[in-house]
């Protein structure tokens, strides 16, 4: 049990998917201008990433490894993720309209969120067991949400600040992300 907690903490803080692994940066900059969208995106990522992490682990272990098809990993993982997102979208629309209304517009974006695909690949590369993959998928997703929401908070304030013209928008966003990343950098060596 202790091992899982250490793994979770290291995935959330030390190896934060956005700020130290550089994955999922497009939605990080794209959806962080408003707190509401950031929260929606964070929830959608947590939801999909846990499912995707588990399913791709099963695909790798029981289909690809078994038949020696590891070279098809990229193509099969992206197919799994794309169809999963589509399925989740349809499922939510039918059975949980309230949740769908909240996550709706963010779900299609997740297919091309490299954090999802990236974590699935990390799980395989690190040779995690099933439970470890489950924990790490959730923890990475939580780390994504955590960083995204923090960043959205900072960015809402930046809107009120007087930023020099050439630095506006994405540029100042990236510099801010750098500062935030510096804070996360301090966690290095903690676990």
């Amino acid at each position: 049990m202790g091992d899982y907690i250490v793994l979770a903490i290291s995935c959330i803080l030390v190896k934060n998917i956005l700020l130290s692994q550089y994955l999922g940066n497009c939605p990080f900059l794209g959806t962080s201008k408003k707190m509401e969208t950031a929260v929606g995106m964070a929830m959608a990522v947590i939801f999909v990433l846990v499912l995707a992490g588990v399913i791709t682990w099963l695909v790798e272990a029981y289909i690809l490894k078994r038949f020696g098809l590891e070279y098809l990993r990229t193509i099969s993982f992206i197919l799994v993720i794309a169809s999963l997102v589509q399925f989740v979208e349809m499922f939510l629309k039918k059975s949980m309209p309230a949740l769908y209304a909240g996550l709706g517009i963010f779900l299609p974006l997740i297919t091309t969120n490299c954090a999802v695909m990236g974590v699935c690949l990390i799980n395989i590369n690190e040779e995690y067991t099933f439970m470890q993959s489950l924990v790490s998928s959730f923890a990475y997703a939580a780390g994504f949400g955590f960083a995204l929401i923090l960043f959205a908070g900072v960015r809402e304030r930046i809107l009120l600040a007087r930023v020099p013209k050439p630095l506006q928008d994405t540029s100042i966003g990236l510099v801010t992300a750098g500062m935030l990343s510096l804070a996360f950098f301090a966690f290095k060596g903690m676990v």
């Binding site: 497009c26 990229t74 993982f77 990236g118 050439p166 992300a177």
Partner: protein, 197 residues
């Protein structure tokens, strides 16, 4: 056709140069630009995928029904990424190891999917090739220049060779994650400054 093939090519080099003008494909940009060499390698791999997928999407644009187009694009792109992955594993193994998971992640690089959707699906083959090549070369240039800034200042070398005297203290901050964000942010600012004139 309103624009010539040359124009389609050139727009990727300055007016719409990714990832500066089109803020897409940031993850590989930030992750692999610790050195010029990695930047160029990643840029070329992406260019190959971009051109090939643009060709195929453009050729098949009349056959692919609009409803399933995204899924079709993803399969086409994933195929070419697998090709790149296997080729790199066979011929440039050290680079393959350094780039690591970022090679399979070209699949989810928004530039590639973005060009397929925004350009190749609506235009002819020649224009699509020019567009893919322009965007790819633009992306490579961006990665190489960002890589150069980070490598020269961050580790005091260029293409692996030391360029400063022994007394130079590198800003190792720049080769770490926070430096990547700040360097890209400042380069974007510089682009905006130049673009205004």
């Amino acid at each position: 056709m309103a624009k010539s093939v040359t124009q389609e090519f050139v727009k990727g080099l300055w007016n719409e140069i990714p990832p500066f003008r089109l803020v897409l494909g940031l993850c590989p940009t930030l992750a692999v630009t610790k050195s010029v060499e990695n930047g160029i390698g990643m840029g070329l791999a992406t260019t190959f995928v971009l051109v090939c997928s643009n060709i195929l999407v453009s050729m098949m644009r009349k056959v692919i029904p609009p409803k399933v187009r995204i899924a079709a694009f993803i399969i086409i792109i994933a195929t070419f990424v697998t090709v790149v992955e296997l080729v790199m594993q066979a011929f440039t193994y050290p680079l393959f190891l350094t780039l690591g998971i970022f090679i399979p992640l070209i699949v989810v690089n928004c530039i590639v999917l973005g060009r397929a959707e925004a350009f190749a699906y609506k235009n002819g083959i020649m224009a699509s090739i020019a567009d893919g090549l322009g965007m790819g070369v633009g992306f490579t240039i961006s990665l190489a220049s960002l890589g150069a800034v980070r490598e020269v200042l961050g580790s005091g070398t260029l293409l692996g060779k030391p360029i400063f005297g022994a007394g130079f203290e590198p800003f190792s901050f720049l080769v770490e994650a926070p430096g990547a964000f700040v360097a890209l942010g400042l380069m974007l600012c510089l682009m905006n400054l130049c673009g205004k004139k």
